[in-house]
Subunit: 377 residues, 2 copies
C-alpha cells in the first residue's frame, strides 16, 4: 500500500527517523551512564516503546492508567505513573499490582501519602511512591528546601501500605527556553534539585533508591548526571516543531506527520484547502510563542520534504488552510484536487492523540506497517 | 454510580440541559417552518442524535465518513457529508451507498465534479452532490456571483455518475462576531447567498432541491428562512463557553463538562492542580479572542454550579492548573486532595473529541447512563 491509497487525514510515522532519534538518545544516555526510562505518553503504542527499550526489559513511564494497563499487558512490568496520584485511582493500581505490574505512584502532599497508606492497609497492598520535586517552578512538586519533603518522606517510610521509592522531577519549564544555554541551565538545575532532595532524605535515614529526572529538552543537553539514577523522556522519539524551535532537533528529524488531501482553494486569497483540520492536527499552537511561528504545521510533499514556506495558517474541525508564510503567488496547478501533502506537527503528543493508528513508512511513500495506539483513560 | 466514584478525568453530560437545548432549537426551527438537519460532528453519539431528531426519521449532517458509517449502522439513511470531497473517499462512499446509505457529497470546484462523475461512471454509482457556497469569506465555497457556480452545476446535471442536489453554505464566520446584531447580519447574508445561488441555478434550468444553511450562532438568530429548505447545526446540543461569549446561550445552558480530581497545589502561587490537562479539555482556546477569556475552562463544583471566578489558567498533557481569574486568596481546605470539580469547555466539539464516552447525569451527581461516542476517520 502507498500513502496515496489511504483515506485522509491519517497519521504517518517515518520508521527510519524514529529509529535514528531513539538510537541517538540511547547513545547519549549510555555515554552519561544513566538508563533511559522512556515515556509512553507520546507514542501510546507498544511497537514503538519496544523499539525505545532497545531490546532491554527496562522500565517505562506513563501518564495514564490506561497506558499502564496496556503496556503491562504487552509484558512491561516496571512502570512509573508520573502524574500526582488521585485517590480514586488507587483501587485500579492495586488491582494491576496484584496482577504483577510493578506500578509506582508519585505525590507531593502529606495528604496523598496518608491516603495511599490508608488504602494500602485496607486493600492489603503496598504502593511504592516517589516524591515529586519542583525543580523549575512550572507545575507540581515540593519546592527545593521545603520541609514538606521530609514530612512526606517520613509518612511514606514509616506507614505500612506505602513505600518510599525515591524522588522525581520533570523540568517542563525547559519547553519555554529561548536558548540552548537556558536549557543547559535548567538541566543542571533539574539534576541539582533532585539529587539535593535525595541527599536530604538519606541524611534523615530515609531510603531514596530512585532519583529520576526528565524532559526531552533537558535530556538532550544533559552533560552530567551524577547522582541521577534514570532519565525519562518521550517526545524525542518523534520530535516536533516545538523541539526544532528550541534547537533540540532539526526539522528533518521529525518522524511524525499528518497526511492530507487537497479538497479546494480560495485562489484570490492564496489558500489551498485540505481535509486535515484541528481534529487531525490538534489545536496545539506551541510554536506561537517561539521566534518562528509555524501556524498549525509545516507543509511537506507526500515524500516528507518540506515545501518551501508553506504552513497551515488556519484550521476548522475538518479543514486546514495552507498558505505561504509570507504571502506571494502559488502555482495552484502543482496542488491539484486529490493530491496529498504531509504536515509536520507543532506538538507530537497532541497531534498523535487525535489518531488511533500510525501508518509506518520508511523514507518512501510505501506503507510498511500499521501500528495501533491507545487514547483515553 | 455517582460522579465521585468515577476515575478522572471523565466527560460528563447533563441530560436535562441537553434535552432543553435540543427542544429550544427544534421549536425555533418549527416556528420558522424549516426542518433541522442535526450535525453529528459534535456529539458523535447515536444516543444523542436520536434525541436531536426528536423521533423523526430525518436526515443528518456528518464531518467524517466514519460518522456516516456509524450513524448509518444505527439506522440513519439521509446523510450529507459536509466537507469538500477528496477523490480518495469516493470508493468508500460508493460502498456505503450500495448498502443503502443515501450519502450526499459537497464540492466547490469543476475538478471535483468531473472526478466524481468519472468515479460514478466507473463504479456504476451516482453521487448526489451539493455545491458549497461561500457566504462569509471564512473558508470554502464558491463566492456569490462567481460564474463557477453554473459551470459546476452543468457538470453535475449533465454528466452521469453525479447528480445536482442543491446548494449548501456554512456561516462559520459567525463564530467571530462581536455582537448579536452582527450574527443576525451574517445569518441574513447566509440565507441571501444560498437562495440567490439556488435561483441562479434554476434560472438556467438546473435543479436545486436542497438549499441548506447552518451554524449554531446563525441558526439561533435566524428570523426569516424563506427559500431555505433545511438548517444544519451541531454545537447547540451541548453549547460551550465560546457560544456563551457570543450571547448564543448562557453559561447555565452548557450541558458538557469534564470531571477532574484535585491532585495537588502550589499554594503560594494560588494554584490548585487537577488531573484534567489538555488531553481531557483539548487545546482549544476559543475564548482567548472574546471579551471574557475563560482560559481552558470555567470551574464548577461536582454538582455543575460555577465556582465564582475560578478558571483553568494553564494545562499540560495530564495536568490542569486552576486559578482565580483575578488572583486573590483561595481557601485550599475547600478543595482537598481527591475532591472533584467539573470544567465547562471552551469548545464542545474539541473537548468531547478527547473522550470515548459520556457519563450522563441529570441535574445531580448520579450517573444515569454511559453513552459511547466515536472518534477518528
Amino acid at each position: 500500500m502507498d500513502l496515496t491509497e489511504i483515506e485522509t487525514p491519517a497519521l504517518v510515522l517515518d520508521r527510519g527517523k524514529l529509529e535514528k532519534n531513539i538510537r541517538t538518545m540511547h547513545d547519549h544516555m549510555a555515554r552519561l551512564g544513566v538508563p533511559l526510562r522512556p515515556h509512553g505518553k507520546t507514542a501510546k503504542c507498544f511497537d514503538i516503546i519496544r523499539l525505545a527499550l532497545q531490546g532491554q526489559p527496562g522500565g517505562i513511564t506513563v501518564s495514564t492508567l490506561k497506558e499502564a494497563e496496556y503496556y503491562f499487558e504487552h509484558g512491561i512490568v516496571d512502570i512509573i505513573y508520573a502524574v500526582g496520584i488521585a485517590p480514586i485511582k488507587l483501587g485500579h493500581i492495586a488491582k494491576l499490582r496484584k496482577r504483577g505490574a510493578n506500578i509506582s505512584i508519585i505525590l507531593d502532599t502529606v495528604e496523598q501519602a496518608k491516603i495511599a497508606a490508608a488504602y494500602g492497609q485496607k486493600l492489603g497492598a503496598v504502593f511504592p511512591a516517589l516524591i515529586e520535586i519542583d525543580s523549575d517552578g512550572h507545575r507540581s512538586g515540593v519546592r527545593f528546601g521545603d520541609p514538606l519533603l521530609l514530612e512526606i518522606g517520613r509518612v511514606l517510610h514509616n506507614e505500612s501500605g506505602v513505600e518510599l521509592n525515591g524522588v522525581l522531577t520533570h523540568a517542563g519549564g525547559s519547553y519555554n527556553s529561548k536558548t540552548i544555554e537556558e536549557i543547559q541551565k535548567i538541566a543542571a538545575q533539574e539534576r541539582a534539585a533532585v539529587t539535593t532532595c535525595a541527599q536530604q532524605l538519606r541524611n534523615e535515614g530515609l531510603p531514596c533508591p530512585i532519583v529520576s529526572v526528565g524532559s526531552t529538552p533537558t535530556a538532550n543537553f544533559d552533560d552530567d548526571l551524577s547522582g541521577v539514577t534514570e532519565v525519562r523522556a518521550g517526545v524525542y522519539m518523534f520530535y516536533d516543531l516545538v523541539m526544532a524551535g528550541l534547537g533540540v532537533c532539526s526539522i528533518e528529524d521529525i518522524a511524525l506527520s499528518v497526511l492530507a488531501s487537497v479538497i479546494g482553494y480560495q485562489k484570490k486569497k492564496g489558500w489551498i484547502i485540505t481535509d486535515a483540520g484541528w481534529m487531525a492536527l490538534s489545536r496545539d499552537r506551541g510554536t506561537a510563542n517561539q521566534p518562528r511561528d509555524h501556524g498549525y504545521g509545516v507543509v511537506c510533499n507526500t515524500d516528507g520534504r518540506p515545501l518551501s514556506d508553506f504552513i497551515v495558517g488556519a484550521v476548522n474541525q475538518e479543514h486546514g488552510i495552507i498558505q505561504k508564510r509570507q504571502g506571494g503567488d502559488i502555482n495552484f496547478e502543482d496542488y491539484p484536487i486529490g493530491s496529498t501533502v504531509r504536515i509536520l506537527p507543532n506538538h507530537a503528543c497532541a497531534t498523535s492523540a487525535m489518531h488511533d493508528k500510525y501508518y509506518v513508512v520508511n523514507s518512501s511513500t510505501k506503507v510498511v506497517n500499521t501500528w495501533h495506539r491507545i487514547n483515553g483513560w
